[in-house]
Amino acid sequence: MIDLEIVVANLPLYVRGTWTTLWLTFASLALGLVVAVPLGLARTSRNPLINYPVWLYTYFFRGTPLLVQLFMIYYGAGQFAFVRESSLWPLFSQAWFCALLAFTLNTAAYTAEIVRGAILATPVGEIEAARALGMSRRLVLRRIVLPSAFRRALPAYGNEMIFMLHGSAVASTVTIVDLTAAARIVNSRYYSPYEAFLTAALFYMALTFAIVGLVKLLERRWHAHLRPLAP
């Protein structure tokens, strides 16, 4: 029933698609993380002028579909003259840039809330002790709050990584030849949906399990003090 020849003949296409999926996913995860840490901090601020705008941003990006966000940027940016006339237009007219931007904004919103939750879960005693030792606010943040917050955020962030990997499949709707687009090309060329999409599914599954394994490895390292002692 399954024609393996189709799969083998198109393996290079799938490998190229996988590469595109991987760099899109990890580039937006990395950029998103860089943006998310200050945003997460801002969400813990008591100053409404700092907290409220960031809340609105995460509320919008977490409450709407990634596909619509991507369309707003890819199709929508050209509606505005100031974008068309700006020096950034060559970037906005390219699908990869729009996808990278949409994915980064999306993952940054989710990650900011993860960071916020992890920061708020810091035991008050640790902060008080650090302050009592004479550390400044910045030093407390750098030495006490952030390291333990990152550690606490790891399991949730692992889920976010997988969410982003799977979410990146929508890039195939804006002419980017990622793993999903590779499958769609194979399907339309041979009209063989099982071969085309099951192969892509296998590739995605392998990537998912690789990420799960990576997070487990990191957890072993970062959560070593929480593991029960070996008998």
């Binding site: 499958a183 949906p193 099982y194 399990f209």
Partner: protein, 229 residues
């Protein structure tokens, strides 16, 4: 504020279809989820392996890929079946394929949620009910389901929010939902941002209402719990 140039009713029509697909998907996913959870907790090894494979495999693949697989592959399967049986041609259509896929995918997530919720109900209560002579279905209806609801609601709520946003993907397989209506309006008026932003706002409204309703439902489900004074 947003000038929809007469396309408002069309977008709203799409929104109704989006909501219908999402609700149908939710019902189906709850059904798949309950079956999956019961299979995962059953004493039969083949059932446990099957349910384990279902939840692990589905959660490893993007929903868009599964949707395309069911839409194109499902149509082929139906074509083969109707040809073999000598029936008339049946068109699966994006609504049926979409709802089926949504239910199937989120059923895997629901199964994990329900499994945890079932385990949170003390085993002694189920044993006591059995000892009173209740049959397995009566135990399910009177003891297990009402009590697991409380533990399952937060997870079900999260899954619903993800499912609702995933319905936007149905436009990719040709469902005439809100996103597609917006694409048509965007093409005619050359104002894509306006229309996709309007769609985003409708989704935002739907997720907001859902969050409020879920919070109320959770409070209701927890009404029997002791509150700290």
């Amino acid at each position: 504020m947003l000038d929809l140039q007469g396309y408002g009713p069309s977008i709203l029509e799409g929104a109704v279809l989006t909501l219908r697909a999402a609700l149908a998907g939710l019902l189906l996913s709850i059904l798949f989820g309950l079956l999956g959870a019961l299979a995962k907790l059953s004493s039969s090894v083949p059932l446990r392996v099957l349910a384990g494979a279902y939840t692990t495999l589905i959660r490893g693949v993007p929903d868009l890929v599964l949707m395309l697989l069911v839409f194109f592959g499902g149509q082929m399967l139906v074509n083969d079946l109707t040809a073999r049986m000598g029936w008339e041609h049946v068109d699966v259509g994006p609504f049926a394929a979409g709802v089926l896929t949504l239910g199937f995918i989120y059923g895997a997530y629901m199964a994990e949620t329900f499994r945890g919720a079932i385990l949170a109900v003390p085993a002694g209560q189920l044993e006591a009910a059995r000892a009173f002579g209740m049959g397995p279905f009566l135990v399910l209806r009177r003891i297990l389901l009402p009590q697991m609801l409380r533990h399952a609601l937060p997870g079900v709520g999260n899954n619903w929010l993800v499912l609702l946003k995933a319905t936007a993907l149905l436009s990719v397989i040709g469902l005439d939902d809100m996103v597609r209506k917006a694409a048509l309006a965007a093409g005619a008026t050359r104002q894509p941002f306006t229309f996709y932003f309007a769609v985003a706002l409708v989704f935002l409204a739907l997720t907001t209402v859902s969050t409020l309703l879920l919070a109320a439902a959770e409070r209701w489900a927890r009404r029997g719990e002791a509150r700290p004074a």
